[in-house]
Structures are given as C-alpha cells and as structure tokens.
C-alpha cells in the first residue's frame, strides 16, 4: 500500500507541475544537486536569448520516479540533466532521443569529457552529452598536518604515505582521527574508493559493464588498506554506520586529518568553513599514480521532443566560454578540456587539481548501477561494509560472493 501511496503522491506532483509551455521555450529538469549552478546558467541564457528554458528542480531521490510517471502520461520535460550513471538504463529503456549527430556536429566534440560520453553511449549511439561535472579527490587538513609535524603543503601520494600521515595526526588527541570515510554508503565509496583501485591498475567491471570482477589483487589490497586503518583506530567508530550523511560533515569538523572527497567540497568548504585550511590532491594508487571518479550530470533529451533545435541552442551556450565560466563559478567543473583553464581562471587554484582529475577520470558503466552500487542494500555497499570492518581472512570470500551476487543481478537485467 505504501508503494501505491508514494506513486499517487508522485503522480499528483507531476500533474501539478505540467504548466503550458511557450512556443519558443523548452522544459528542463535538474536534480537538487544542481540547484546552485543550474538556475544561474538558465537565467543567463534566458536573459540573452529569444529561446527560453523553463527550469524545474527535483529532489535527488525523486527525479527518476517522477520522470517515469511524467513520461508515462506524456508530460516528460523536453530535456533533463541526469546523474550520468543513469544514462545507460534510460537509454536501454528506449526513453531518450539519439543525440549522436548533435554531439558530433560540435567543433569541440573531441574535447568534451570522455567519461561522460562513455556512459552516455549505448549500442554505439550517443544518448547523453556532458553537462555538469564533479570529480573525486583527496583532501587533507593543513592545520592538523602542521600540528603533527608534517609538511602542511604536501599531501600524501601513496597508500603508505596516507597511513603514515594519518598515524601522526591521530596522535594529536583522542577525538582527532587520521582518516575518514563513509563506511555504509555505496555512492560515496564508488566515488572515492574505486579510484584507489583504478590508480593501482585494477577495475570492478569489464569495460562493457557485463561482467563483475571485484575479486582482484588490487581490490583485495585496497580493502586491506582501509581495514588496517580501521583496526588501528585511525578512523572514527561512526564511519561504520555512516550512510553518507557525514561524508562531507566529518572533515568539516576540523578533527579529521585526511579524507577522500569531491570537487563539490571545495566550494562548500570555502563558503561554509572559511577558517578551515585544507589542501586538495589526487586519490593515489598503492605505490603512486592516481585516478578519479568522473561524476556529474549528462544532458539527455526525451524521445520524441520537437524542441531539439532550441535545446541545441541552450547546450551551445552552456558549452561556450562564458557558460563554462559561469558553471565553474557556481560549483560545476568545466566539461570541455580545451577551455578548462580559462574557465577556471581567477577561481581557487585547488579547482585546477579537481579539473585535472576530471579530465583523466573514469566512470563505471552499468545499466543496473543503482541496484549494484548506489542502493544501501546492494551487493557493493553490503560487501564493503562487511569487509572494511572485518579481519583479513574475510576479504577474499566476501569479494567472491559479491561478484556472484552482482553477476546474477547483471544477468537478470539482460
């Protein structure tokens, strides 16, 4: 019954929002994560163009159900800024317009974020083009580093250095900890933990996303690395049950030495915690190298819309240097590598690290990403939560079991 009540509520919300559209306008939805930069770019576009974009912001968790209900009743928005990991499942459902020609007609097509395009491509066609971007990085507290006798300007570059620095910071006091991660948050860990594996030469899926291969030497090493830091008390006890609510807040308290985080944290820390001195560096591999999760939104178009020309106009504005500069100013990294430096000029130099991370970032590809990774009860989160807080002997069997569960979910979706 609860489910139906929810469905009814969503339907009511969708009906209430179906406003009559103007002739030279198109409707556009964005999830709440984009509520800072999206209104700015839409306002700037509407002020300088004949064409108008009508923006609606939808709570993160409701975007997919709400869009689905709207699509079923023929009221779907013309365009949607969609969490990029959903692009494959939307495309597979036959919900999206083919944007291959539009994308390839852009003169700067080659410098658009490859990570976005790779998940935006389904069976050789492009269904989603890059819009906003957020990359994962490692941040460290310069004040605590200084107190611990470490060089406050030098972040760790290998796992051993992370551990050594965290140990020194931990010695500063009982309520100060060396490292923090959200131990019960699938979304947080795909964003910040997988780069440790990628940077060490491993991966979690095959390139086409059809085979789960978690049980690799790199994955086992990375789990053991986290496990040992937990065991030695370098990580606060709350990490084990943090479903993501402290992902940003824990470091912001100023009592955490090092934490994996995202580019979004730079803007948030600067505005909300101006007195916290922190550095930004790459998420390192076991013995060096680095990687990043390229996150953010893909821009997709509902199948059958008649507003494609107007939408292209909007996209070209967002992709222009003024557009990219505006987006960067309000918290979204540039998605055009050829003008990234210019778009970031004058902004906090730490953004440059995040932008570089973005350019080399990866995004896992799966049509069942939500089931496998993001769900609090999915195999990824359940397995990590188990092995991070267990002992060394538990790692291999748990990863093997996780592979089997993931594979059964992937196979069931075919």
């Amino acid at each position: 019954m609860k489910r139906l009540t929810l469905l009814a509520a969503v339907t009511a919300a969708a009906l209430a929002s179906a406003a009559p559209a103007l002739a030279d306008s198109f409707t556009l939805w964005v999830r709440a994560d984009g509520s800072t930069f999206m209104p700015k770019i839409v306002d700037a576009f509407n002020a300088s163009h004949q064409t108008k974009a009508e923006l609606q912001i939808v709570p993160n968790a409701e975007l997919v159900p709400k869009y689905a209900v709207a699509a079923a009743s023929g009221n779907a928005p013309d365009a949607l800024s969609l969490d990029l990991i959903y692009t494959p499942s939307f495309a597979a459902a036959g919900q999206l317009e083919d944007m291959t020609d539009l994308a390839k007609s852009l003169p700067y097509y080659a410098s658009l974020s490859q990570a976005h395009l790779s998940v935006g491509t389904f069976e050789g066609h492009i269904y989603g083009v890059p819009f906003s971007a957020d990359s994962s990085v490692l941040i460290w507290n310069k004040d605590l580093f200084k107190q611990a006798g470490l060089d406050p300007e030098k972040g760790p570059t290998t796992w051993a250095e992370i551990r050594a620095d965290a140990e020194k910071v931990k010695k500063l006091g009982p309520d100060i900890y060396g490292y923090y991660f959200s131990g019960n948050c699938g979304g947080c860990n795909i964003f910040t933990f997988t780069p440790l594996i990628w940077a060490s030469g491993g991966d979690i899926f095959s390139a086409d996303g059809k085979t789960a291969k978690l049980d690799s030497p790199q994955m086992r090493d990375a789990v053991a690395f986290y496990q040992s830091m937990v065991k030695d008390g370098l990580v606060p006890a709350g990490s084990r049950t943090d479903t993501g609510s402290n992902f940003f807040a824990a470091f912001a308290t100023g009592k955490i030495g090092i934490a994996p985080s995202g580019a979004f944290a730079i803007g948030a820390l600067n505005t909300q915690y101006p007195n916290l001195h922190y550095g930004v560096t790459f998420l390192p591999g076991k013995t060096g190298g680095w990687s990043s999760f390229a996150g953010g939104d893909n821009f997709v178009v509902t199948k059958g819309t008649k507003k494609l020309a107007l939408i292209k106009e909007f996209l070209e504005f967002a992709y222009s240097l003024p557009g990219q500069t505006l987006l960067a100013k309000y918290g979204s990294l540039p998605i055009r590598s050829d003008i990234a430096k210019e778009a970031l000029a004058g902004l906090d130099s730490r953004y440059l690290v995040a932008a570089e991370a973005m350019a080399k970032g990866k995004t896992p590809y799966s049509v069942v990403f939500n089931d496998l990774i993001n769900s609090a009860n999915g195999p990824w989160n359940t397995t990590l939560n188990k092995v991070f807080f267990a002992d060394a002997a538990a790692i291999e069997p748990a990863l093997k079991e996780c592979d089997a569960t993931m594979q059964s979910i992937i196979d069931a979706a075919k």
Partner: protein
C-alpha cells in the same frame, strides 16, 4: 462467519411480501448514506488494489516497455530468498515488538488506571511519544545512537559501562534492540490507553469479592483482570501484529537495512524492488503476497476472538 444462523430466525408478525418491500426502500436510503464512504473505499482502496493485482502480472519497469508475463513475478518471488529472509526478519521483529508493546502497555495501564494525585501527568507523559511522527522519532534516535556525535555512547563511556566508543548500530543484536526499544518507547502509550479502558470497565465488586475470599494480588490479576480485559488485549494484539508486519520507516531511517541487510523488512524489500530496482510489477506481486499473509493473520486472530466469545 457466524451470524448466518440469525437470518433464519423469524422476525415477528410482518408478512413476507411487506417485509421485502420495506427492506428494499430502506436499502436504497442506506446506500445513499454510505455512498461517500463507499466512494472513498473504491477510489483509495479497491481501485489501487485491482491495479496492483493487474501490475503484478506484468514486467512493469518504472521506465520502459510494459510486458505481460502472467504469473512470472509470482514464480520469481517463490525463489526469491531475500524476500523470504526479509519476511522472516519481519516476523522475528513482530514477535518481539508485540511482546514488548503489550507487556509495557499493560504495566503502564495498571500503573495509571486508578485515579490518584498527579496521575494526569503520568498519563500525559506516557502518551506523549505516540503523537511524535515515526520518521521524526527515528531521526531523533538515529542521532541519539550516533557513536561520534550522539548521546548514548558518550554517556555509557562516562558512566564507565564501556571503555571505548561503542557503535550501537554496527551489530545486529544491538541495532535490532535499539530500534525495537525506540518503537516500544514511542507506541506503548497507545496500547496503555486501549488496555486502560479495558481495566476501567471491570467492576470493582469482583475484586472486593475476591479479596473477601482471600485471593492475593497475583490470583486477582490472573483470574479476574486478565480474563476480563481479554477483548482489549486481542484488539491490541491485532493492531500490534498488523503494524509490526508493515514496519519500514524506523529500519529505513535508523539502519538503512543494515548491518549488512540483516534488518530488511518485507515492506522495505518491496520499496527497494519498486523504487531502487524500478521493478514495479515485481513490487506489486510482493505487495499482493504480503497482503494475503496479513489477511490470513488477521482472520486467524479474529477467529480466536470470536470463538472465545461464542463459548461464553
């Protein structure tokens, strides 16, 4: 179930023909009066129920093509270990929550039943948590049990009960009891009211007579109080079992089904299938099965109430 017997009993001197005519007129008026209620039930219960049943026969993704698969969802459900495991956990929770609720509710009811100075304060205090929403109460307890920024762990450490910070929500037993105790704290006031009204309906003469016969407190409780509040107890039992079988909010908000999915309830699993995996058809099939289970449980309990009544 019973009651059919009474229809055969002749109903006074009215001739059969007149009886029918009068009845029909009364029926029309009656339908008119209950029309608004029927409309509500049809729109908000019957239609969704039929739609759920219809959806359960399809592969019905949240987005994409809908496909008829007959009883495919029910067959898949039969082999869905995780659903049966979730149902098993729900039953486990229902048993403990019901025992806790009825025991604490009865104890509170016995305490606040008799009028005495200051009793209004106690009654209000025990009932207050009931008016807090389940989601708000869950958020409050999620914070209280947070090991780093909450209350329970630092207090336990300060009192010397634990040497190091103890994460209440990290192990099954501690997590399960944290939530169950929260539910008992929040809902037992409601059962207190139900049982109190039962207690107050017992004439004091019974106790006086028993006292004169030399019955002690235990005997009076077992042989007078308990049998005479049986109807209130059965009502409380049905409400508690039905409510607990549908538990979702507290486990979703405080534990997110953790640690390691050990506290996934049946409704939680339905929610996950429908809105995380986007399989609305399968979620509908699960809902239908849960509905059938609840229906059987309620019928059994009602039967229990009724048969005892008839014997009396």
């Amino acid at each position: 179930m019973s009651g059919s017997q009474t229809d055969d009993v002749p109903k006074g001197p009215t001739s059969p023909a007149r009886r029918v005519r009068r009845r029909r007129r009364v029926d029309y008026a009656g339908y008119l009066y209950i029309a608004p209620a029927i409309l509500l039930v049809v729109v908000f219960f019957v239609v969704p129920l039929v739609m759920t049943a219809w959806m359960s026969l399809h592969n019905w993704p949240l987005i994409g093509r809908i496909r008829w698969i007959g009883f495919g969802n029910y067959i898949a459900l039969w082999n869905d270990q995780r659903f049966w495991h979730a149902l098993g956990f729900t039953v486990y929770y229902t048993v403990w929550a019901t025992i806790g609720l009825l025991a604490v509710g009865l104890a509170l009811a016995l305490f606040v039943e008799k009028p005495r100075p200051g009793i209004g304060f106690y009654r209000t205090a025990y009932f207050l948590p009931v008016v807090v929403g389940f989601a708000s109460a869950s958020l409050l307890w999620a914070w209280l049990s947070n090991v780093d920024s909450g209350l329970f762990s630092p207090v336990a450490q300060w009192l010397g009960l634990t040497a190091a910070p103890y994460n209440l929500l990290a192990d099954f037993d501690a997590a399960f009891w944290s939530v169950t105790i929260m539910v008992i704290w929040k809902v037992s006031g409601f059962y207190m009211i139900i049982l109190m009204s039962g207690l107050q309906a017992i004439p004091t003469d019974f106790y006086e007579a028993a006292r004169i016969d030399g019955a002690n407190y235990r005997q009076r409780f077992l042989h007078i109080t308990l049998p005479l509040i049986r109807r209130s107890l059965v009502l409380a039992l049905i409400l508690s079992v039905t409510g607990s079988m549908l538990a979702f909010d507290q486990f979703y908000i405080i534990l997110a089904g953790g640690p390691q999915n050990q506290t996934l309830t049946a409704v939680y699993w339905i929610f996950n299938q429908s809105f995380v995996s986007f399989r609305l058809g399968y979620g509908s099939a699960l809902s239908m099965v849960l509905l059938a289970i609840l229906l059987v449980l309620s019928l059994v309990q009602l039967q229990f109430l009724q048969s005892r009544e008839d014997r009396r």
